[in-house]
Symmetry: C2
Subunit: 122 residues, 2 copies
Amino acid sequence: MSETAKTEKMEPDFDKSGGLLPTVAQDAETGEILMLAYMNRESFQKTLETGQVHYWSRSRKELWHKGDGSGHVQIVKSIYLDCDQDAIVVKIEQVGGVACHTGQRSCFHFRHVSGNDYEVID
Amino acid sequence: MSETAKTEKMEPDFDKSGGLLPTVAQDAETGEILMLAYMNRESFQKTLETGQVHYWSRSRKELWHKGDGSGHVQIVKSIYLDCDQDAIVVKIEQVGGVACHTGQRSCFHFRHVSGNDYEVID
């Protein structure tokens, strides 16, 4: 039951959520979720223009070219928008294999075990 | 190079982001990202207690037992927390195969093509 793909004019709705939309970086090859950060309009445009992921750093309050410094840039393979146009998924190639500033591959390296216990995973 | 798993007392930091943490539902089998919604402390606790995903509906401002009504509940397989403790991934089994209220499998059914054009994917 395949719906014919149709092209629609739309874009992320940066009028929502104070202009910052949660953006999930997913490994394009493995499907692993590597990190979640935020994009504003400027970082989204920069991402489109450069083909490398740019976020908005909420802590530093500035445009954040991911990997600038470490070299662990994220190369865009494809970009997805959700039904409400207020969340973004970027499928990427993670240069250097490391997305997290802790040196782990994924930022999601705590797995819930029970109660409020988590175990660290590789 | 396997780090020995260690167990840590921690939990999502609901003092951040106004008490609402972005939560990604990922198909536990395929790795597909199905939706992104928000959890507050209450919905997180309900999720742990019941083994089915509960979110906080930002539009209705109420606890949201996903699939209550449609039957498309999300059965928790595992839960992950990121390095900043302010984003959550739940790996789930999507009952009925449909996560999106539009009837699509995933809410992320708009794929960016060029400029502000998106094509609808199944």
